[in-house]
Each structure stands twice: as C-alpha cells, then as structure tokens.
C-alpha cells in the first residue's frame, strides 16, 4: 500500500494521468473533510479542487520519503481556515436525513438523526484549532503523529486538543440527553447479524 502510494506520487509529478489517479484516491476523503471544516458543499468542492492544484504545483518539490497524507491535509486545512476567515461553519439540516438501516424503528431513526445533527453542530462550534484535530482523527483516521505533522503541533498538544474537543462534544450530547442514543449507534455502525 505504502509502496503503491509512493510510486503513484512519484509518477504524478510528471504525468497528469497518474495525478488523476491520485485525485480519485483522495477526493472523497478530502471533500468530506473540507465539508466538515467549512459546513458548505460549494466551499468543499472549490477548496478540494484548489487543494489538488496546490498539490500539483508543489509535488515536484515534495520529499517522497515524507508521509503524504499529513501534507495533503495541511494544504486543505490552511485553505479551509483562510476561507472561513474566523466564521463558524454552517450546519445544513437537510444533510442529516435519517438514512440508517431499513429495519430501524422510526423512533430510533429520528434519534440517530438527532445525534448526528448535534454532533455536526458541536463540531462546527469548535474553535479552528480544535476542529481539524477531531476531524482528522475521527473522520480521516489519522494517527496522533500524522495529525501533529499536518498541523505542525507536538503530539502532546494533539492529545490535549483531542481530549478537550471530545469533552466539549460529550457535554453537548449529554445536555441533549442523547448519550444513550449515541451508544446505540454502535449497532447502526456494525449491523447485528440476524439469526
């Protein structure tokens, strides 16, 4: 996997066809990240495109032995923060339509929907310094080390920010009385095997 990625990045420096493969590989994750960072589909689309153009411009000078994902997310994060200029991301309610497993009861669908909406709103409320840490960890599944590299932060700071951000999200869920509902998401996440 690592080898393939390194080969792809090296080829993408001089070959736009290889670069297109790199875009295909990362565009969904980057778009989703930028959507959570900005709260806007339009911004996410423009910024994803812009991030890839920046990657293309800088790729000839990228050190192949350096990890690619933190670098990619660093470019995307800087673009998103510039775009927001201190604003908080918007929350689009239509994006949280109940769409879980079909055999869920209507009550549970509504509950799931509500948990997601509260979590999304709580993420949007986080300061610009915390939001990327939470998103990189949970949505993108980057390690502490990768997050530190992406944000130029020591691992200790990543740890502290993640801890505080989760505590803030936890408090929002508790305030809405939805902690139990959040627990039931485990089943939604990993569908139970039917006998």
């Amino acid at each position: 996997m690592q080898q393939l990625e390194a080969a792809l990045i090296e080829a993408a420096r001089s070959d736009s066809q290889a670069f297109a493969e790199l875009v295909v590989r990362y565009q969904d994750r980057l778009y989703n990240y930028l959507y959570r960072m900005t709260g806007s589909r339009e911004d996410a689309q423009d910024l994803t495109q812009e991030a890839f153009v920046r990657v293309y411009q800088a790729l000839p000078r990228f050190h192949l032995e350096a990890p690619f994902r933190p670098w990619l997310y660093k470019i995307a994060t800087n673009l998103a923060i510039n775009q927001l200029k201190g604003r908080k991301p918007a929350i689009v309610l239509e994006d949280y339509v109940p769409s879980r497993a079909l055999d869920d009861s209507p009550e549970r669908q509504v509950e799931t929907h509500e948990v997601q909406r509260i979590i999304a709103a709580a993420i949007a409320e986080l300061p610009d310094t915390y939001r990327p840490v939470v998103l990189m960890r949970h949505v993108e599944e980057l390690s502490y080390d990768e997050i530190g590299k992406a944000l130029d932060l020591p691992i200790g700071t990543v740890k502290v920010r993640l801890h505080r951000a989760r505590a803030a999200l936890q408090a929002k869920l508790a305030a809405a009385g939805l902690h139990q509902a959040a627990a039931s998401l485990r089943d939604a996440h990993e569908p139970a095997v039917t006998q």
Partner: protein, 172 residues
C-alpha cells in the same frame, strides 16, 4: 507489573487508549484500573459513545463533476508550468548573450584604440605612452562590464533558487 495510578492520571490516558496510541503495558494499566474503578469506567463509556457518534456521521462523497473540474484546473496549471519552463532557457540565453555582447563591444573598443595608438605611435613615438594609459581605462571598462554581466546572471540565478525554496516552504 500493576501500577496503582490515580483516576486523574487514568483519565488522561483514556483518549489515547481509545485511539490505540498506548503501549501494551500502558494499555494493561488502564484496563486494570478501569475494571476496578466505576468512575473511570463511566468516563470511558461516555468517551466511547462520543467517539461512536463521531464515526457514525454521514460521509459525503465528492460530487461526480469534481474530478473533471479538478483535472481541467491541473491541466491549466500544467500548461502554465510548460510555458514558464520554455521561457526559462530563453531568459538564460538572453543574459549570456548580453554579457558576451557587452564584453566584445568593450574588447572591440579597446582593440580599436590599441590600433589607433599604434598608428599614432608610428608617426609620433611620444604619444605611445599617453595612448597606453588610455587603453588602461578601456581595460577597466571591460572588467566593469564583464563583472556587471556576471552579477546580473548571478542575481537571476539566485532569484530562481529563492522562488523554488519559498514555494516549497509554503506548500509543505
């Protein structure tokens, strides 16, 4: 080895525990503590639920048109790069050419005055010394022109280098 750690310490380890960022002995310490401590167990369950809620957020896929528009922007960038790449040798050649022209003009000016001073010297040997002194000032001119051309070329090369270095830093 089982360490007895306070809840305050364990609480700080719950996040890295959840993220799989602890070493096996650290994991064992946390597990041992949580198994016997109701408060920390509750804290961990609450943390785990928050993490589950985060992971269950809907993931949006990039719009279908994004790949095409991104690659169109990349190709525009590719053409821009190709254009600037093709201008770079032209600019280098222009600098070298200017330097060579400047120097040969100086040499020719110096050469002409040498011939003129030789002619004059043949007619009147007394002028020879005077003309040689004049040639000396021409030689200085040659040196000045030559070194200015070298300075300009050096400055241009340095500017190119800095531009590369700067963009690398910004992008990284």
């Amino acid at each position: 080895m089982t360490q007895i750690l306070s809840c305050t310490v364990i609480e700080k380890l719950l996040n890295p525990y959840l993220d799989g960022e602890l070493s096996p002995p650290e994991r064992a310490t946390v597990e041992h503590h949580v198994a016997g401590c109701r408060t920390c167990r509750q804290a961990f369950v609450a943390l785990e639920r928050t993490a589950l809620a985060l992971e269950a957020l809907p993931r949006l896929a990039a719009p279908a048109a994004l790949l095409a528009s991104t690659m169109a922007a990349v190709r525009r960038e590719e053409r821009k790069r190709a254009a600037s790449d093709s201008w770079q040798p032209v600019a280098t050649v222009a600098v070298v050419l200017l330097a060579v022209l400047g120097m040969s003009a100086a040499v020719m000016a110096g050469g002409e005055s040498l011939l003129a001073s030789l002619d004059a010297a043949l007619e009147d040997p007394a002028t020879l010394l005077e003309n040689l002194a004049l040639l000396g000032t021409h030689a200085e001119l040659i040196t000045v022109l030559g070194s200015s051309a070298l300075l300009v070329a050096g400055a241009l090369a340095f500017a190119q280098l800095m531009r590369g270095e700067f963009t690398t830093r910004v992008a990284r």
